[in-house]
Symmetry: C2
DNA sequence: CTGAAAGCGCTAACAT
DNA sequence: ATGTTAGCGCTTTCAG
């Protein structure tokens, strides 16, 4: 029932081989025949069969997108947007994206995603923190892998990250520019490369201004509750801090909530900068100054990297940093004209 | 390089046809040979090639999952969870799910998702509100369609909905049981079937208790801002309302915010019930009493419905209602012993 | 520059 | 109950 290559060949008065060559952009076809064939394809609304193509070319045109279940269910659509970027780019690259989640607790004998077991993807994008065991298993399959927003330390893979160091620097610099001198870094889970990189940026900005770093961590997690707890811990020790740089928006919002409850005004008494720009809470009061991460762009870049590897599998691992941007909203302001001695 | 059916055949000392029959669970194979073949398959780690299968069977083992971009990027992972359910069930049904978004503003000459143009899906799940034009276009492709959490009025398709009427009823009944007599329904966008059905349930519960309905809508949208505005509008007119049933959690949270700002205590002065149980804000104070929608289950059911249609395409359109559940948290309480005259 | 033909891995008659 | 074989739609030598 569907239109086949033969139908096109017949209509264009050429052989099916010629049509195939045209489809595959082979250059040894005269402009004239190419045009005729192209027209026939369009007239007929022909689309080559992926099955037939895949059968002979040993390629299936699919790529996998794996992330942990808890990441995908997160209340902010962070990874969702990365996925959208991937899918967007996949349209241009003519791939289909198969999305699957694996349990955060993935352990060695657990079974891998179906599409890798059945070898129905040519490569895979790994988004966010991935259990070590999963990487191990994947490695055995020799699947081209690209990491987004996370990467293993071994340097063997291509990765796409947002420019966390620059972001940390910009956030901190912004606070310094506002006149703040005692600026805390609120975080949790320092193992995570992003959180660590943001910390680097923070420290660099402080060093440049000759200020001391005041890192405060929560043992829990990098969510609102963690931010709330960390802020609580911070102000139990030091009441003189005037600015907070949180490792992400969720913690920033948690800290904001704590401050409000304690009657401290944001940004009058304390300025807060977040990271990610999750837009989770546009009704937040005050709206959060933050570092915008280009989530879709990250997905796009990841897909591009993967395509590159797929086309030329000798390609060396590359690392792409997607630029970030300071978004100044209402949670930061100039420090109250008070003159501060360093 | 990969293992083919012939490798299996050779190892099992049978023909490839026999292997094929075993794979396809054909019953006219003796138990003995079946066992031998199965063992060979396992030993070799054989997985049939989808391309080859697809080429002859005209099936590709893919199903599409379409939703609008704004739905997928929503801050609560509502549709994300529906998708996860679909993917979960797809594993059992041996399908791959191709997820794509279309612009909310989809208009007729816009191009359809690639996987339908290229006919690379056997059927499609449509999640959430879908532009009418899209349905129109899809219809021409004669693709089996299943709707989740939304459906066109024409009754031509299979759909999966949560039991909105029961949910609206339970929510309202809960408030009535708490002693409330003046209960508002806060909503927006009544065109949406879910919102309308919830309204039905609300009205039924009120009628049964012989109470009047107090519907208040916001002209904007069904998000927090809408909830805030609607609550504002409500209390501008009537100060005697003691309970609010919002058409979803987002609006409930918006209303909650308005009440807090105006100094009204929740639940002491006003009780609030939401709908969806999005868990967006576990740190919400007070935590929201709501109607839990089983999002994953909805995705699972949608996939099952689609599989059913695909296996037996004479199947008639079916409608599945996924049960809901009242979750009582802190935003509702018994009405202050005040005696109320009806 | 284009056509003829073989063959990818599998299924489905048809034989045996 | 199992084997033989043609052919699905496409790509890819190899000829011309």
């Amino acid at each position: 029932m569907p239109i086949t290559i033969k139908d096109v060949a017949k209509r264009a008065n050429v052989s099916s081989a010629t049509v195939s060559l045209v489809i595959n952009k082979n250059k040894r076809i005269s402009e004239k025949t190419r045009a005729i064939v192209l027209k026939a394809i369009k007239d007929l609304g022909y689309h080559p069969s992926r099955s037939a193509r895949g059968l002979v070319s040993k390629q299936n045109g699919n790529i996998g997108f794996i992330l942990t279940d808890d990441h995908f269910s997160r209340s902010e659509p962070f990874y969702t947007k990365i996925f959208i970027g991937t899918e967007l780019q996949a349209r241009d690259d003519e791939y289909y994206v198969l999305l699957t989640t694996i349990p955060k607790s993935f352990k060695k004998p657990d079974s891998l995603p179906r599409f890798v077991l059945e070898r129905n993807v040519e490569g895979t994008i790994l988004a966010g923190m991935i259990p070590w065991d999963l990487m191990d298993c994947l490695e055995e399959y020799k699947l081209p892998l690209v990491f987004v927003d996370y990467y293993p330390a071994n340097g063997k893979y291509s990765v796409v990250m947002s420019d966390n160091i620059a972001g940390g620097f910009q956030a901190t610099q912004h606070l310094i520019d506002c006149g703040h001198r005692r600026i805390t870094y609120l975080y949790s889970d320092q193992q995570h490369p992003s959180i660590n990189e943001r910390f680097q940026g923070y420290k660099m900005a402080l060093e440049k201004a000759n200020l001391d770093s005041i890192p405060v961590s929560d043992e829990g997690s990098t969510n609102r509750k963690g931010g709330y707890n960390a802020a609580q811990r911070l102000f139990a020790k030091r009441k003189d801090v005037t600015a907070i740089f949180a490792c992400n928006d969720a913690m920033a919002i948690g800290a904001l909530q704590f401050l409000k409850e304690k009657g401290m005004k944001v940004p009058k008494d304390v300025s807060i900068v977040g990271f990610d720009d999750v837009e989770a809470d546009l009704s937040l009061d005050p709206p959060l100054t933050t570092i915008r991460v280009q989530k879709e762009e990250m997905g796009i870049q990841a897909m591009r990297l993967l395509t590159e590897i797929l086309r030329n599998n000798s390609a060396k691992p590359r690392k792409i940093l997607v630029p970030v941007e300071l978004i100044v909203r209402g949670s930061t302001c100039k420090l109250n004209k008070k003159v501060e001695s360093k």
